[in-house]
């Protein structure tokens, strides 16, 4: 693995590793680690750093939905145009063009189910190119961005062993 790949892997594991932590794990000098991170940021490889949140443990709980969108395109409008328009809404947390039975997979977040429904029906559905929306409310999250939820400590190894 190159230094870039190694640091990227570690930051994906935990973006809060300090420069010193990263230096120790990679055997690089702290200045080298900082230089690699800066390079990854300026190259646009690292787009941001966020916390992975288990909303069920937060008051008030956030409501999230996975929304399938079907669209029809005309000569003037392409997928990118529709995507650009949708991505501007702060409620939209994720937006991807996908292959298969529908066109866009959209992730929406709001304070309540009614707020999310209202957003879909008042802001998304009226977009002229959108022909169909199917909303799936997220009931329970088991894993987000590689992080498994649940009560974590399922290490049932003996605490002391040979």
């Amino acid at each position: 693995m190159s230094d870039r790949e190694e640091i990227l892997a570690l930051l994906r594991e935990n973006a809060r590793y300090s420069t010193e932590d990263l230096a120790r794990q990679t055997d690089l000098a702290p200045e080298e680690v900082e230089a690699v991170i800066e390079e990854l940021e300026t190259d646009g490889v690292i787009k941001g750093y966020q916390a992975v949140v288990d909303w069920e443990k937060v008051e008030p709980e956030r409501v999230r939905a996975a929304v399938e969108l079907n669209v029809t395109l005309d000569r003037e409008t392409g997928y990118d145009d529709i995507a650009e328009r949708l991505a501007k809404f702060p409620e939209v947390q994720g937006l991807r063009l996908v292959s298969g039975d529908f066109d866009f997979a959209m992730e929406v977040e709001g304070d309540s189910m009614s707020e999310v429904s209202r957003f879909i029906s008042e802001q998304v559905a009226p977009v002229p190119e959108i022909t169909q929306t199917v909303t799936h409310y997220i009931m329970e999250s088991y894993k987000e961005r590689g992080v498994e939820f649940g009560d974590g400590h399922d290490d049932d190894r003996l605490s002391i062993s040979p």
């Binding site: 932590d21 794990q25 990679t26 055997d27 190894r157 605490s159 062993s161 040979p162």
Partner: protein
């Protein structure tokens, strides 16, 4: 009528690990750096192979020495990785963990009154194993100043020249020490000169971070006097599947098999299927696990350095063996659990030369390691 343990059993003290295990069990919020097994699950392909073998109902005994297919894979693997060349039909025996292989060798080749030099600190089962076989242990302490490598001087000073056999383990549990081929030369020469059998536990062979693993059996004149132990517990994270093996000249395997065929019959069948797959297709997972251990090792070693705790640069297995900040490692380990809820194992548990040290396992997530090291730091300052 009472169940009075036999003299051999009564003569073996309870394991020092047991006591710490009991202390650690009193708390449920412990970060344990006391574990001697991987925190990874076995590679999926190996698990799938085990599941598939169960679905097909392949649960009968196998050949005593293990499935032919597995023995063949083991022989190829040992040859390719370490230059150990053994005939799968006569010179390989598959056992229920490396533990069973160690026990078979002791019982097959030791007589009451024989003496066995054991390089220490070491895995806790060797000394009792020798005693169960009726033989006597000669302590061969290794020193932090030698990075816990076995030296000719240590062998000479301990009287190993008079012994019948030598037990050694590199990469080492608990010290994390490794030995290069050049460093093994004088040990091999000593064994040849004094006609010692060598029992070489190489179960951590895949976890050597600084140099390629070297097996003492590949040195001149050593193959015929060495039994090599290895297994799937560490490299493939398959501890609970209980699968190991021994490599040795045909006569030796034959003698070990004589015990094995009456006591164990054959190693677990499901595990043998998993092991075939592990050797066939799980090299990438092994490399990935090794890379992760290596990162954790760097982390732990540099944290000890920051704390001003002396720790030689452990280069193998998944243990660091720092000096204990207190004179008595038992007291330190006990206080550390009670006050900071961090479990480590005191070095004296592992035999001569271990006192004054702690075994710190890094087979635990980096997040937990980071927290545990911070607690150790606050404990000692």
């Amino acid at each position: 009528m009472t169940f009075e343990p036999s003299e051999r059993v009564a003569g073996v003290p309870p394991s020092g690990i047991r006591r710490f295990f009991e202390i650690a069990e009193e708390y449920d919020d412990i970060i344990s750096l006391g574990v001697g097994e991987p925190d990874f699950a076995p590679p999926w392909a190996a698990r799938d192979a085990a599941i598939a073998s169960l679905e097909r109902g392949q649960t009968s005994y196998t050949a005593n020495r293990g499935m032919r297919e597995l023995r063949e894979r083991i022989a190829v693997d040992a040859d390719e990785k370490y230059g150990l060349s053994y005939d799968p039909d006569e010179e390989v025996i598959v056992t229920s963990g490396a533990s069973e292989a160690v026990d078979l060798a002791f019982r097959a080749f030791l007589d009451p009154g024989d003496s066995v030099a054991v390089a220490q600190p070491c895995y806790i089962s060797y000394m009792p194993g020798v005693q169960f076989a009726g033989a006597d242990v000669v302590d061969v302490p290794t020193r932090a100043a030698d990075e816990f490598k076995l030296t000719r001087e240590a062998l000479e000073a301990s009287g190993a020249a008079e012994a019948d056999a030598l037990v050694m383990c590199y990469p080492n549990n608990p010290t994390g020490a490794t030995m290069t081929r050049a460093e093994l030369e004088p040990v091999a020469a000593f064994a040849r000169e004094h006609d010692l059998l060598v029992f070489s536990d190489e179960i951590y062979s895949e976890l050597s971070y600084e140099h390629d693993h070297a097996s003492i059996a590949t040195l001149p004149g050593m193959r015929e006097r060495t039994v090599v132990f290895n297994g799937f517990s560490k490299a493939y994270a398959m501890t609970g599947l209980r699968l190991g093996y021994a490599l040795a000249p045909a006569d030796a395997v034959d003698a070990m098999n004589r015990i094995h065929q009456y006591t164990m019959l054959s190693a677990p069948t499901t595990a043998q299927h998993a092991a075939v797959e592990a050797l066939d297709s799980c090299g990438d997972e092994v490399r990935e696990m090794r890379a992760q251990y290596d990162r954790r090792r760097n982390f732990v070693l540099s944290r000890f350095e920051e704390m001003g705790i002396d720790c030689f640069p452990a280069a193998g297995a998944f243990y660091a063996f720092p000096e204990c900040p207190w004179a008595d490692s038992d007291e330190f380990a006990e206080a550390l659990i009670e006050e900071e809820r961090v479990a480590v194992v005191p070095g004296n548990v592992f035999g001569a030369g271990g006192e004054g040290h702690l075994r710190v396992s890094y087979a635990t997530s980096l997040g937990d390691l980071k927290e545990a090291m911070a607690r150790i730091e606050s404990f000692i300052t």
